[in-house]
């Protein structure tokens, strides 16, 4: 064999080996894309889908409901990558969830044809033109929330898509009615004691919202699944009580948000369900957001409503709450469960009016108090949930992920994501849809450096890192070099 033939043979051999080797690598890579294996190692599991989302995808498969999502974002933008990752994950959970990514810059015709005016996602169920067809458009702001305080944009896409899928595919006839006629807080009011944020959050959860006036003896509309009575100021008359009882008896869910002592008629309403509301307020310095113990941060107890909340480390806030006591022996066929509890260092205080001023006079006796309770009539009728705090779900105390908040609202120091999660979970439970408990927004990992890293320290660190340390390395290099030369 001469040299040339040998070289050709060796060259061919090397080429075949290289191609085969490259082919194996490409094949392994393709398989890894086909069967993805991902592990989220972050502390707050920011890259992991919530259990609620996975359950929802299982429901689509079980009920055979096809849902499609069409995302409109420029190709390979950071937003497109996040959305694409999320939609691909959802698609892996259920074959009934399909998606398409459309670049509005290269396919403007499709963008306009689908009725889009800005980047976002359309979630649709059913065939276009059919009566079952439903679609919901999610704007970019529904998927990426800008925090004016930190200047950072967080991804709320999972929550947004989840709500949209529920809206178009699952919820068809759920209506929440806000009771009026006893001076309750208004759902149209954007003031601190208004309920506009709660109404918006419920609409985003695909509930229809209505108002039911019961003072004139009218029954609660038949299509109401849940009724909310938030902060009644006037007496609940026997007629109103009969209306509420009839609503629960026919299977409705009643959410009562009451202040200490309630109003005349409250005790009669609650006693039928094995509950009572104290005339006093609770002060709990051991579990409070303020040193005086007025703004109580209760622990939550195991129940479908509290499933998404941390038992001890939640951000629930109740200002001057009143204890909701569960009767030792509840009426027959009634199941009661405590939902929120203070520490065992809580005391009950009466508000004593001295004319010119009011003063709290507290009991010596310190013990654990229940601040919210759930009542289930075990299939015979509906459900009731009572919270001993009328302000609990007002605009001042609610922070929701689905509602875009302006600067004024985010500045509300008492606004709590867990108050919102608790109320939305309560409504789902009262509507008998505890399988679709509201997805609590993932706590954002605070990555900001503290203010202690001020200008002076920055300058010191800058000088140290930019000049001193590199210079030190050069000196070490010089010493090593001199040592080498001396050998």
């Amino acid at each position: 064999m001469d040299g040339t033939t040998r070289k050709i043979k060796m060259g061919l051999n090397a080429t075949v080996l290289t191609v085969a080797f490259g082919g194996i690598l490409v094949l392994a890579y393709i398989i890894s894309l086909r069967y993805p294996q991902q592990y989220d190692v972050t502390k707050t599991k920011t890259n992991t889908m919530a259990r609620e989302t996975r359950d929802l995808m299982k429901t689509l498969t079980k009920k055979k409901i096809p849902v499609t999502a069409t995302a409109f974002f420029p190709a390979r933008s950071s937003e497109e990558r996040r959305i694409k990752d999320l939609l691909a994950q959802l698609n892996r959970q259920s074959d009934f969830f399909q998606y398409e990514i459309v670049d509005p810059l290269t396919r403007p015709g499709v963008f306009r044809q689908m009725g889009m005016s800005d980047y976002g996602v359309i979630v649709a169920a059913g065939s276009p033109g059919s009566p079952e067809f439903r679609r919901k458009i999610l704007a970019k702001s529904d998927l990426f929330r800008y925090d004016p305080e930190t200047g950072e944009e967080s991804f709320t896409g999972e929550q947004g898509i989840l709500n949209a899928v529920i809206a178009v595919a699952l919820k068809r006839d759920s209506m929440v009615c806000f009771i009026e006629g006893q001076g309750e807080f208004s759902i149209t009011s954007t003031k601190p004691d208004g309920l506009s944020k709660l109404a918006d959050a419920l609409e985003a959860e695909a509930y229809a919202i209505n108002v039911a006036r019961i003072s004139d003896g009218k029954p609660i509309p038949q299509d109401c699944k849940v009724a909310i009575m938030a902060g009644p100021q006037a007496a609940i008359t026997s007629g109103a009580r009969d209306t509420l009882n009839a609503f629960v008896a026919r299977g409705g869910g009643l959410l009562l948000l009451l202040h200490s002592g309630g109003v005349p008629g409250t005790a009669d309403l609650l006693s039928q369900w094995g509950l009572s509301l104290s005339e006093k307020v609770v002060i709990d310095k051991s579990r409070s957001a303020d040193p005086d113990g007025f703004l109580v941060r209760p622990a939550v107890l195991p129940h479908p409503v509290t499933e998404t909340l941390s038992p001890d480390d939640n951000s629930l806030k109740l200002l001057y709450p009143a204890p909701v006591t569960i009767a030792g022996k509840p009426p027959q066929g009634i199941k009661t469960a405590p939902l929120m509890a203070t520490s065992d260092q809580a005391s009950e205080c009466a508000v004593v009016d001295y004319g010119a001023y009011q003063q709290l006079e507290c009991d010596e006796n310190k013990s654990k108090r229940t601040l919210a309770a759930a009542v289930d009539a075990a299939g015979k009728s509906g459900r009731i949930l009572a919270v001993g705090n009328s302000l609990f779900a007002t605009n001042d105390f609610l922070r929701t992920a689905v509602v875009i908040e302006d600067n004024v609202e985010t500045a509300r120091v008492n606004a709590s994501e867990d108050n919102a999660a608790f109320v939305l979970n309560s409504v789902n439970w009262l509507a008998g849809e505890e399988d679709i408990i509201a997805l609590r927004p993932k706590p954002a990992q605070n990555t900001e450096l503290s203010d202690a890293y001020d200008y002076t320290r920055r300058m010191t660190v800058f000088k140290l890192f930019t000049f001193v340390i590199p210079l030190g390395i050069l000196v070490i290099g010089g010493l090593v070099w001199r040592w080498r030369q001396s050998l």
Partner: protein, 232 residues
């Protein structure tokens, strides 16, 4: 064992050479100049971002002499005829440069100290960031070692490495140009930073490991094949 012996020799020659210290000092100076003053978060994302750009300049300098120097001095013939296999020679030289890269990583630990002092860092997130950086740099080094085996001129080796690294970064841009054809998707998968992004947000994905290890092994394999042609 032969790999270890070559590795030891290479590490020693790297760390007694002033060029290693000069390039490390220059790297840390530039890194600090770019990120220290504006560092506002404890996740070190800005640090990783700046590091990945600076590595495009640092790694060609660190790898240019690995094979080229042997060829320019004529010592490569001794190596090729030594009892050590080509694979162990290449592995030893690759690991030696990686040791220099790891030493550099340790020096960037100063930013983690700042994050711990003034923030609440998620250490797992930072660890995966470093892991991603390590794999990215290992790919760059493998490319550099291969480029160094192509020529006896160290400067040309550094230029080839630099151009190759630019290709793997800029290939993402090609995916825009060829977006409508399936080639665009291929370019997207080839782009080195596409695979780094998930590490940077604390997500470990098997496909990224396969990509990086595949690229490292492929370029080391090509280096061995290239050296082998000199035996023919």
């Amino acid at each position: 064992m032969k790999t270890l012996a070559i590795y030891k020799k290479e590490v020693l020659s790297l760390f007694v050479s002033p060029i290693a210290y000069v390039s490390m000092a220059l790297f840390l100076f530039l890194l600090s100049y770019l990120v220290t003053y504006d560092m506002n978060t404890s996740d070190l994302r800005d640090v990783f971002s700046a590091m990945s750009i600076l590595m495009i300049f640092f790694i060609p300098m660190a790898t240019m002499r690995t094979m080229s120097e042997e060829m320019s001095r004529g010592t490569h013939e001794l190596l090729l005829t030594s009892p050590a296999s080509l694979a162990s020679i290449v592995a030893g030289k690759f690991l030696a440069v990686m040791t220099l890269v790891i030493a550099l990583f340790l020096c960037t630990g100063q930013y983690a100290v700042i994050a711990a002092m003034y923030g609440k860092p998620d250490w797992m997130l930072i660890s995966t960031g470093y892991l991603g950086m390590l794999l990215l740099c290992a790919q760059f080094v493998a490319i550099g070692v291969f480029a160094s085996s192509l020529t006896s001129n160290q400067f040309i080796a550094a230029v080839i490495t630099f151009v190759a690294l630019l290709f793997f970064i800029a290939v993402d841009v090609l995916s825009y140009i060829f977006e409508t054809v399936s080639l665009g998707s291929v370019f997207e998968h080839l782009a080195v930073f596409t695979h780094f992004q998930d590490f940077d947000r604390g997500l470990l994905d098997l496909s990224h490991f396969i990509y990086y290890f595949g690229m490292i092994i492929l370029f080391l394999f090509l280096t061995v094949r290239n050296l082998e042609t000199r035996r023919w």
